[in-house]
Structures are given as structure tokens and as C-alpha cells.
């Protein structure tokens, strides 16, 4: 594709919106992995699960965003339960179980993937809603409506979560529990319960994030694989423990992917997230804003 400034600007705008969307799908991982240190490689799989949940409700005429909100409490309890299981089986056992914890989540991710294939088949599924077709005209550029919707929801989600984590007691406890469990215990809070709530929130977010995913693009069961790259890229680039950094990192990824997509084509785009991730791990493992 020949280079032109117009195309570049279009790619950047698209990338900005895409980036905000990536922020929303990564923020759950920011909490589960960035703050709690849980090797949750099954997080993207739960994201796709959320998308399929939204699709299922869509079959009954439920609007995707509403479906996402409805599924949030379900996913919250799913996440809390999952953490409890992880804690009882692995965290209690200590260091020697590190391999096993990783293997557990990896196995879980594949189980979810296969169950989705069995239930829904391998074909792509999309969501239906009034705001999905059509686009917005911004000066010379057309921006698809669905991206704008996703952008809006993403911002609200990120802002809400960041506010929760810094303003409420439980939220701050969640931020603290990754760094100093002992101090938290002294304050009378139960670290395990806090982590359970945190993991529940991280998973609950996946319901709404999954709704956005299926709004933006059709989904199919093996999508969790590329999203491992995207979400971990965002979380690592942001720096573990940084919520606000997630947005910045996600936008960087979004713009990078968009530019590669525009000028090098779709066959190179999947490597961007993973390539960026490797680059960050190699040169600046702490990320941009890491603790």
C-alpha cells in the first residue's frame, strides 16, 4: 500500500479507537495478573466466553450491551469461585506449584475453547444491534459506529474501575494486597477474600468487554489465542500494577496494529501484539509505568 499522510491519519484514528477497546478487554487482566500475580492465561478465553454469552442472549433479542451488564454478576461469581479454587489448590502449596498453576490455567483456556466449539461450532458469530452498522463522519474520515460505541463503553469501564480502585476501601485493599499482604492482615482485612473479590471483578469485567468484542468484530472460539498476545502485551507494556497505564499501552498497541494493518496487510498484523510484547520483555520488562 502506498504511503500517504491521509492513510496514516486514518490508521492512527482507527488505532486510537481500537486501542481504547483493547484497554477495556485488558483491564481485567491488569487486576488479575498485574495486581494479584495470578498467571491467568485463561483470561482471554473467558473474554471470548463473555462474547458467546452475549451472543446467546442476543438470540433472545437482548441488546449486546444490556446482555453484557446482565452477565457481569454471573461472571463475577465465576471469577470469585475460580480464584478460590486456584488458591486452595495452588497458592497454598507454594513455590513448587508454580508450573502447575500455569498449566492449570492453560488447560482451562483450552477446555473453554473446545466447549465453545462443541456448543457453537467453529463458525464466526456476530451480534445484532441498531448501532452496529453504519458509520460516523468526522471531517474526511468515516468511523464505524460500532467502534465509537466500544470506545465509549471502554472509557466508562476504565474510568469506573480506576475510580473504584483508588476511592473505595475494598478497591484500595485490592491495590495493596499484591504488595503487602501482612499489612493488610494487620488492618483486619482478609487477603484471600480481597483477592477473591478482585478476581471476581476482573472476570466480571469480561462480560461487558466480551459484549464490546462481539460488537466490534465477529468472534470464533480460537480467538482467545491472539488475545493472549494482545492483553498480555497491554498489561506488560503498561507495567504491572498500573491501571491508568493500561489505557496508554493499549492505545500504543492499537495504533501500531492499525498502521501495520494499513501498510503491510492483514498477514502481518497478528504478529504485532506478540512482537511488541517480546520487545517490551526484552528491553523494558517493567513496562512504562510499572511498580
Amino acid at each position: 500500500m502506498a504511503f500517504s499522510v491521509d492513510l496514516l491519519i486514518e490508521a492512527v484514528i482507527f488505532g486510537l479507537l481500537l486501542g481504547c477497546f483493547y484497554a477495556a478487554v485488558s483491564i481485567g487482566l491488569s487486576v488479575a495478573f498485574g495486581l494479584l500475580d495470578v498467571p491467568h492465561v485463561a483470561h482471554p478465553a473467558m473474554l471470548i466466553l463473555g462474547s458467546y454469552g452475549v451472543y446467546l442472549l442476543g438470540q433472545y433479542g437482548v441488546d449486546p450491551i444490556v446482555a453484557g451488564l446482565l452477565l457481569t454478576p454471573v461472571f463475577f461469581f465465576l471469577g470469585a469461585g475460580l480464584y478460590r479454587m486456584y488458591y486452595e489448590t495452588f497458592e497454598k502449596r507454594g513455590q513448587s506449584a508454580a508450573v502447575n498453576g500455569l498449566a492449570f490455567f492453560f488447560g482451562l483456556a483450552f477446555i473453554i475453547e473446545v466447549l465453545l466449539v462443541v456448543a457453537f461450532g467453529v463458525d464466526q458469530r456476530s451480534a445484532e444491534a441498531g448501532y452496529i452498522g453504519g458509520s460516523l463522519k468526522l471531517g474526511e474520515f468515516r468511523i464505524p459506529f460500532r467502534l465509537v460505541v466500544a470506545f465509549g463503553v471502554a472509557l466508562v469501564l476504565t474510568a469506573a474501575l480506576t475510580a473504584y480502585l483508588s476511592r473505595t476501601f475494598t478497591g484500595r485493599a485490592i491495590k495493596a494486597v499484591g504488595q503487602d499482604e501482612a499489612a493488610l492482615r494487620l488492618m483486619g482485612a482478609d487477603p484471600v477474600r480481597i483477592k477473591q473479590i478482585a478476581f471476581g471483578i476482573a472476570t466480571g469485567v469480561n462480560a461487558l468487554a466480551g459484549a464490546m468484542l462481539i460488537i466490534v468484530t465477529p468472534v470464533e472460539p480460537t480467538m482467545d489465542r491472539i488475545y493472549i498476545g494482545r492483553t498480555f502485551c497491554v498489561v506488560v507494556l503498561a507495567g504491572l500494577g498500573s491501571m491508568s497505564g493500561t489505557l496508554v499501552a493499549a492505545i500504543i498497541l492499537g495504533v501500531a496494529e492499525s498502521i501495520v494493518l494499513m501498510f503491510l496487510g492483514a498477514s502481518w498484523a497478528p504478529a504485532v501484539a506478540f512482537g511488541l510484547l517480546l520487545a517490551v520483555l526484552a528491553f523494558r520488562p517493567k513496562g512504562l509505568f510499572g511498580r
Binding site: 492453560f106 483450552f110 477446555i111 475453547e113 466447549l115 462443541v118 497478528p270 506478540f274 512482537g275 517480546l278
Partner: protein, 310 residues
């Protein structure tokens, strides 16, 4: 000594088998099981002995397959050259991964290995000479003296490879090198301070593991008569290669052998009788069940049973 005589006997037996009028399907299925043994054993050298969990097995296996293809396409090289070149390239890839391990531990290392799968896959997709995204059809040579067919020869080659892989794993386990790996798995910092040159050992383990994985991938293009990126770099390999040593037991070289035979056989049965999707489910469920209930694998269960029945 007993180990070597069993190995030699097995190789001879396998040779006799391929000359016999046994159904071809047996060798097709047998190839898969033997390949599983090599993959599980190779994975365990880095994962079980050193504690570095490689999620990127498909990157090495796929690289081995495509390296072999390169030899076949460019110089019409014989299988042995394909395998050696594949081992070389994958070994080098393993070495690079080992260098990554300097900065990355635990989940970061594992995620980096997943990244490798996608990057290698993307590289191949954009490499028209090797077939690109659509892949290539290949014809198996008809001549395969002294064997009665190319597939039979591939089967026998896999037998030899499996024996070599097991011998290497067994040697490493009981050696000075193996002790160092165990120390670094248990506590990398303490191992360094106890005089263990952790970086050197990690590089060695990564290179050996990578080379074996690549060698196992080398016969794939000829076995399938077909090669394309999506199946060559399929992440499903990653779950299987992980599940077999965990189910069998990671601390002893027999573990991956047991796990591979068990799991690969179950997978073959499920694929043939039910569906190929369900076979991934079976692997995933068994992995999760063992990781929760029997983290030391079948070998671990056996040891506990022996200890309690005394």
C-alpha cells in the same frame, strides 16, 4: 546396560515389524504416538527438569517441519539431512529462547514462548517459497529401501528418534547437569549462590529441548504429504506436549514416556470414535485433573503407592 539392551531390542523389533504384513494404519497411528513420546520427553527436559514452562512447542515443531521442507525443496535432501537441519535450526531457536530466560521467569517466560509461536507462524505465512498461507502439497517418494513403503520408514525413524530422546533424558537426569537443573528449578537464586552456572545450564536445556522438538517436527511434511502454517503451528500441540509429562510425571524420564503413550493412545481412540474436537477436551480435562489432584503424575502416584505398601 539393561537400558541399552532394551533399546537395541526395541529398534530391532520395530524393524522386523515394518517388514511384516501388518496393516499400514498401524504405522500411521504408531508414528503419532512415537512423535508424542519425543515431544513429551523433549519438553520435560526444560519444563520438568529445569522448571521453565514452554508453551511454545508448536513454534519449534513447526520450525522443524518447515526447515525440513526447505531442505527438501532447495536441494532435494534425504530425510536424514532434513532431520539434522531441522534439529540445528530449532536448536538455535531454543538457544535464543534460553537467552530470553535471562530476564524472564515464570509466566513471563511462558508468555514469551507463546509469542514465538505466532511470530514464527507469521514469518512462514509471508514466505511464499515455503508455501505461504495456503501451504504445499507434497508427494512421498515411492522408493524407501530397505523399507516396504515410505510411511513404514518414517515409523522406524521415529522409533529411533524416540529411543534417542529417552536416552538423552535419562542421561541428563542422573548427571551432574541434571542435578544443577533441579537446583535451579527449586531456587534459581540459591542455585547461583551454590555455584551453579544457571545461565549456561538453561541455555543447554533450551537448546537440547528445542533441537529434539524440531527433529520430531521434521518428518511431518512427508508424513502428511501436505504442509500448511495453521496446522503446523497449532497451539493444540502446546497443550498435549504440556499434558503428557505432567500426567506421566515430570521428575523422571519415564514420566513423559508413560504420559505420551497413555494420552496419545486415548487421543487416537477419541478422534476415530467420536471427534477430533473432543480429543482436545480430553487432553485439557486430564491436564487440569492431574494438576489439581496428582501434580506428581503417574510416576508420583506409583512412588506413593510403593512407599505406603512397605
Amino acid at each position: 546396560m539393561r537400558f541399552w539392551s532394551i533399546c537395541a531390542g526395541f529398534i530391532v523389533l520395530a524393524f522386523g515389524l515394518v517388514q511384516s504384513p501388518v496393516n499400514d494404519y498401524f504405522f500411521f497411528a504408531g508414528f503419532v504416538i512415537l512423535q508424542a513420546i519425543v515431544l513429551a520427553t523433549a519438553w520435560n527436559i526444560l519444563g520438568g527438569y529445569a522448571g521453565y514452562v514452554n508453551f511454545g512447542v508448536p513454534a519449534f515443531v513447526g520450525t522443524g517441519a518447515y526447515a525440513a521442507l526447505l531442505v527438501h525443496l532447495s536441494i532435494s535432501g534425504p530425510l536424514i539431512v532434513q532431520i539434522l537441519f531441522a534439529a540445528l535450526v530449532s536448536g538455535a531457536l531454543g538457544f535464543l529462547v534460553g537467552l530470553i530466560s535471562v530476564r524472564l521467569r515464570g509466566i513471563f517466560f511462558s508468555i514469551a514462548t507463546v509469542a514465538l509461536v505466532f511470530i514464527m507462524e507469521t514469518l512462514v505465512i509471508n514466505w511464499r517459497y515455503l508455501g505461504g498461507a495456503t501451504g504445499l502439497q507434497l508427494t512421498r517418494p515411492t522408493e524407501a529401501w530397505p523399507f516396504d513403503g515410505y510411511v513404514r520408514m518414517l515409523f522406524w525413524v521415529m522409533v529411533v528418534m524416540a529411543v534417542i530422546a529417552l536416552a538423552i533424558a535419562r542421561y541428563i537426569q542422573d548427571s551432574h547437569f541434571g542435578r544443577g537443573l533441579r537446583a535451579l528449578r527449586d531456587s534459581e537464586d540459591a542455585a547461583e549462590c551454590a555455584g551453579v552456572p544457571t545461565l549456561r545450564l538453561k541455555l543447554m536445556a533450551c537448546t537440547v529441548s528445542g533441537a529434539l522438538l524440531g527433529a520430531a517436527g521434521a518428518p511431518m511434511p512427508m508424513y502428511m504429504s501436505y504442509i500448511e502454517p495453521y496446522s503446523s503451528f497449532n497451539l493444540v500441540y502446546a497443550v498435549s506436549a504440556l499434558a503428557m509429562p505432567i500426567i506421566g510425571g515430570m521428575s523422571h524420564w519415564i514420566g513423559p514416556l508413560v504420559g505420551a503413550i497413555l494420552l496419545a493412545t486415548i487421543q487416537q481412540i477419541v478422534t476415530v470414535t467420536i471427534s477430533s474436537e473432543l480429543n482436545v477436551l480430553v487432553v485439557g480435562v486430564l491436564l487440569v485433573v492431574f494438576v489439581i489432584a496428582a501434580p506428581d503424575g503417574i510416576v508420583g502416584l506409583y512412588r506413593k503407592w510403593k512407599a505406603s505398601s512397605k
